[in-house]
């Protein structure tokens, strides 16, 4: 979810209305799936968080103001964009097809960049490329000072070692592979192109490098500065719809900021596209469909009005999707916009009508009964994380003989949460180790899901574990508990001697029901206790509940 920062004053100008901060907060929450995160009164800057990850045109003050003007009734329909014809060309070589096949561009002239506008352009570029552009993989954007560029511009892929140029913030020239290795942006985004034999490159007609998309601009042509008034915008990527969207959003914003937009002809080997390209999409939303989804009984005219408030043009009964939007995949998307423009707050709620029978999961009854039985025996219930670390499982010897069965995470954020627990005992031992100064006896239990690898699958089951620690904790006490548990279940059990590294030799047994091993019981081995720093004898049992029901 992107968060953007802009000047409140600038936003009021864009909106054409002097609204208060409270009014803005309301508008954002009620219509824009957005909220004010911070308002710095001193600098007059606001930070706004936007929820819709699929609607980048509102990730900037220009688009957000345009949207709010619509829903608050200050404007109707889509924003117009005047694109001037021109002779600017980008010639696309087929060699880019593998790595990064699409490019789009436009030229913007006629307004001097000031510090604030430059910051806004850079912010929008970053938000778009990081979020919607999937960290530049799908789309990346370049902005250049136009006056240093000799048209036509060429877009082609080259062998990385064959070209050298000085990237932004670097004085010395590097070849493309060196840029990936040495430039901070190269290290950050190099993964996108490094496995291709040729890298995409943008050059002007004199062979001067503009940029190595999607990594870095050249230090010579690719540097935007305050005072620049003639800009080249380009977006490259792997998805043409997304590069077009980028160009249309930027062109619209810059036009609203006072620039004139000039088209650029993008010449592919088989076709020529006049960028920024407009592919208008239309959707038909009928009163019936609106009612089906929203419950609102609206006439065509009302729907049309709401569509226009939501920023659509209406043509012959169709909603025309604005050129700066690419999020409409289904009529339901348009209908949601109608409902938002109508105002969720004005929609009258309706109760559900049908009668259904509620029920907890069928395992809940047994589990909850057992929890109460064990708590009744004086055990404090523990509720732990399911993620744990392999080391603590090993310290408790919970993985003894089945180390390979522990389900581990491939990308843990920290060691502490790097594996799925395969037993509840390590968690309970952790409780004992953290409470050495609390009163004894300490009797704790937990019921919960554990998991382990079982061949090519993962098995998950409900487990119940008890640990008691005090100076006389022993096997007999635990067996008393086990007997009481089975008595409450009305089930017979047997104990067969077992060897388990977590328990004292000769004082551990498998719990057997119907010839199946259901769990383990015994006195915790002093080696395990000392690994947990526990200075009190402890006895434990753990039962697989899934086999019981």
């Amino acid at each position: 979810m992107p968060t953007i920062t802009f000047a409140f004053k600038d936003f009021q100008q864009l909106l054409g209305k002097k609204l208060t901060m409270a009014e803005l907060e309301d508008l954002l929450v009620l219509y824009a799936k957005a909220e004010v995160e911070n308002y710095d009164k001193k600098s007059g800057e606001i930070s706004v968080k936007l929820d819709d990850t699929n609607l980048p045109y509102v990730w900037c003050p220009e688009g957000l103001a345009r949207f709010l003007k619509g829903v608050s009734g200050m404007r109707k329909g889509a924003a117009r964009l005047k694109v001037n014809g021109s002779s600017y060309k980008i010639i696309v070589d087929d060699s880019v097809k593998k790595a990064r096949p699409f490019i789009t561009a436009f030229v913007a002239k006629g307004r001097k960049l000031d510090d604030y506008l430059l910051k806004q352009l850079v912010q929008m570029q970053e938000k778009f490329c990081e979020g919607y552009g999937r960290r530049r993989q799908k789309v990346s954007i370049g902005l250049y000072s136009y006056k240093r560029i000799a048209f036509p511009v060429h877009y082609k892929a080259v062998v990385p070692e064959s070209v050298r140029f000085a990237p932004l913030e670097f004085d010395r020239k590097l070849n493309l592979r060196e840029i990936l290795q040495q430039h901070p942006k190269g290290r950050q985004y190099g993964w996108i192109i490094q496995n291709f034999p040729k890298y995409p490159l943008l050059l002007d007609d004199k062979g001067e490098v503009l940029s190595l998309p999607p990594i870095i601009n050249s230090n010579f042509t690719g540097r935007l500065e305050v005072g620049d008034s003639e800009l080249l915008f380009e977006a490259t990527g792997t998805d043409e719809e997304s590069t077009n969207l980028a160009a249309n959003i930027f062109a619209q914003n810059m036009s609203e900021r006072g620039f004139q937009i000039h088209a650029v002809a993008v010449k592919y080997s088989t076709r020529t596209v006049t960028a920024p390209e407009v592919k208008t999409e239309k959707a038909r939303v009928s009163p019936q469909e609106v009612e089906q989804l929203t419950g609102l009984k609206l006439k065509d005219a009302e729907i049309n009005q709401l569509l226009q408030r939501a920023g659509y043009d209406v043509e012959g009964g169709y909603a025309v999707v604005p050129r700066y939007r690419a999020d409409i995949m289904h009529p339901a998307d348009v209908i949601e916009d109608v409902a938002i423009a109508y105002g969720f707050g004005k929609i009258r709620e309706e109760p559900l009508r049908s009668y259904t029978i509620g029920a907890k999961d069928k395992s809940a009854a047994l589990i909850n009964s057992l929890r109460k039985v064990v708590a009744g025996a004086g055990f404090q219930e523990i509720f732990s994380h399911i993620l744990t670390d392999k080391k603590s499982l090993a310290a408790a010897a919970a993985d003894a003989g089945k180390e390979k069965c522990v389900v581990e995470l491939e990308n843990p954020m920290s060691e502490t949460y790097s594996a799925v627990r395969s037993s509840l005992l390590p968690g309970l031992l952790d409780v004992l180790s953290r409470n050495k100064h609390a009163d004894y006896p300490q009797k704790v239990f937990e019921e919960g899901i554990v998991a382990a690898r079982d061949g090519s699958k993962v098995r998950e089951w409900h487990s119940l574990a008890l640990v008691s620690a005090h100076s006389k904790a022993d096997f007999t006490e635990q067996k008393q508990h086990l007997s009481a548990i089975f008595a409450s279940l009305g089930t017979q059990f047997a104990i067969r001697p077992a060897e388990h590294a977590a328990f004292i030799r000769g004082r551990a047994g498998s719990i057997i029901v119907d010839k199946k091993i259901l769990g383990i019981i015994g006195e915790i081995s002093p080696a395990v206790l000392s690994r947990f720093g526990i200075e009190m004898p402890a006895a434990a049992l753990e039962l697989d509940l899934s086999l019981l029901s």
């Binding site: 419950g295 209908i335 949601e336 969720f344 559900l352 509620g358 389900v407 409470n435 899901i449």
Partner: protein, 515 residues
């Protein structure tokens, strides 16, 4: 005065059996030892009773330490049948004798002979006598005097009454005792604690009452019940003020109990529980929810991937095909889909479930799906988050669906308002637009909490047709909702750090308030 009497009789009634026994003897004896003898009770019992009486201000117990000198084994022997040196001297009383004859006459061993010679030579009591062969001794003048008056050590042993108090010995006796102490088992020294106890004024008052009050009973016994003795028994009153030793009840974990309560609530509202695995495939966790495979929430920085096994072996292939079509081209739902190449490998990749919506997807595709039907799931979910006061790596989510022909956004808003009432006890709510990749329209629920102000309680929406149709087989409205249950739990339990929901602190758990 009447008040004092009342107090005295109250105390008298609350006296323990032991206190009651000891109290009268304090009038007759002051030495604890004597009290013990006259009572015929065990020392510990008497001491305990005296301690209690002293704590109640009824008696004053004091203690003196005394050194007592007694005769040792040899001392007793020497007192009666004389010290070896005395016998040595006596043997020489008539005439000088050779050693062998002294030995015979005094009845001494070789060792005793040697020791006696040493002692007597030091006292200058004997001197060697001239002899032809064997070594002989005779008495000196001093020796003759000693035979008449006796050796000081002998007099000490034979005349003194033992055991004797060390502090009552004369200066000279003390010197003699010190000398004798060096010899083996002649004198034994004991430290004796002399306890004395006397009644206080209050004690006298209580004693008067105690002697007139009946014998009290300390414990009701099965025997008393069987024999009916309880009918005449008077039970000792207890002192109720002292703290009792702490015990800890077995208690259910408060957060888990809260979650159980939530389940009860949903069951009561007509929702049936659904479950699913925590190690889940990307298919059920995301693809079935129409979340595109390139969605940012599917990044390695958002979801935990399982190391081994990497892939789910049991995906329903027909269903995967339909979901794939929905992603690629909309699956005939009237939508155009996400338009990218769907990866079958990615869809079977195993991850830790990141949202309980996976359970909803499984339920929608299940053959036992009821229409109309209401379902809920409470389950553990896992997110790639830095752990802090607001974020956990695994946490609980509550989600649910309502599947029914003819339901729409108005029912969704109605349902959210119902939840606000049920879980936040408020009717002040705001339902505002929101975004989820699998719902359209999507809404967020804010409720005005009496003390927290506007709180985002949960999210909801109507599942997209591109999600529903592949799973159910046809389009049917499905309202989906999720509630931020952890936040409500924290408020209910009075916590401000989310980590405390899973606390391993026994002090905290044992003392948690009942809610």
């Amino acid at each position: 005065m009447a008040a004092d009497e009342k107090r005295a009789s109250d105390i008298a009634a609350s006296l323990h059996r032991l206190e009651r026994a000891v109290l009268p003897h304090l009038e007759k004896h002051s030495s604890v030892a004597e009290i013990i003898t006259s009572l015929g009770m065990q020392e510990v019992e008497v001491l305990r009773a005296l301690n209690w009486l002293q704590n109640k201000g009824l008696a004053k117990v004091s203690e003196t330490i005394e050194e007592i000198i007694a005769l040792g084994e040899n001392g007793k022997l020497y007192a009666k049948s004389l010290l070896p040196e005395t016998r040595f001297l006596n043997a020489l009383s008539s005439k000088p004798l050779p050693l062998s004859e002294i030995k015979k006459a005094a009845g001494l061993s070789d060792d005793e002979i040697g020791a006696s010679i040493g002692v007597l030579m030091r006292l200058k009591a004997i001197e060697p006598a001239a002899s032809s062969g064997e070594k002989s001794f005779k008495l000196s003048e001093a020796g003759k005097e000693f035979v008449r008056t006796g050796l000081k050590t002998q007099k000490f042993l034979s005349v003194k009454k033992f055991p004797a108090k060390a502090k009552e010995l004369s200066e000279e006796e003390r010197k003699i005792a010190a000398e004798l102490k060096m010899r083996k088992e002649v004198l034994a020294e004991n430290i004796i604690k002399n306890r004395t106890a006397v009644l206080t004024e209050a004690g006298r008052g209580v004693l008067k009452k105690a002697s007139t009050s009946r014998e009290t009973v300390d414990r009701l016994t099965p025997e008393m019940l069987a024999t009916g003795k309880w009918k005449t028994a008077q039970f000792r009153s207890y002192d109720l003020a002292p703290p009792a030793p702490r015990v800890f009840f077995g208690r259910l974990q408060p957060y888990r109990e809260f979650l159980e309560e939530v389940r009860e609530k949903f069951a009561a509202l007509g929702f049936e529980e659904m479950t699913g695995p925590i190690v889940e495939s990307e298919f059920w966790n995301m693809d079935a929810l129409f979340m595109p495979q390139f969605h940012s929430a599917r990044d390695i920085h958002d979801v935990y991937y399982v190391k081994e096994p990497k892939y789910a072996a049991d995906l329903p292939q027909q269903l995967v095909k339909r979901v794939k079509a929905a992603h690629e081209n909309g699956f005939g739902t009237g939508g155009k889909g996400w338009r990218y190449e769907f990866s079958d490998e990615k869809t079977s990749r195993l991850i830790m479930r990141s949202q309980t919506t996976a359970c909803s997807a499984r339920k929608l595709a299940a053959p036992d799906l009821k229409i109309p039907g209401k379902y809920f799931a409470i389950g553990r979910c896992f997110r790639y988050d830095v752990i802090d006061a607001k974020h956990l790596a695994d946490f609980n989510q509550v989600e649910g669906i309502v599947v029914e022909e003819g339901i729409n956004l108005r029912h969704l808003i109605g349902l959210l308002k119902l939840f606000a009432k049920e879980f936040c006890n408020t009717e002040e709510v705001k339902v505002v637009p929101s975004y989820f990749p699998f719902t359209e329209p999507s809404a967020a629920l804010y409720a005005k909490h009496p003390s927290l102000g506007w709180v985002e309680l949960g999210g909801a929406g109507i599942f997209r047709p591109e999600m529903v149709k592949p799973l159910v087989g046809r389009q049917v409205p499905v309202i989906a909702w999720g509630i931020g249950i952890d936040r409500i739990a924290m408020f209910r339990l009075g916590l401000d750090d989310i980590r405390e929901l899973f606390s391993h602190d026994l002090g905290f758990l044992r003392s948690a308030k009942v809610v």
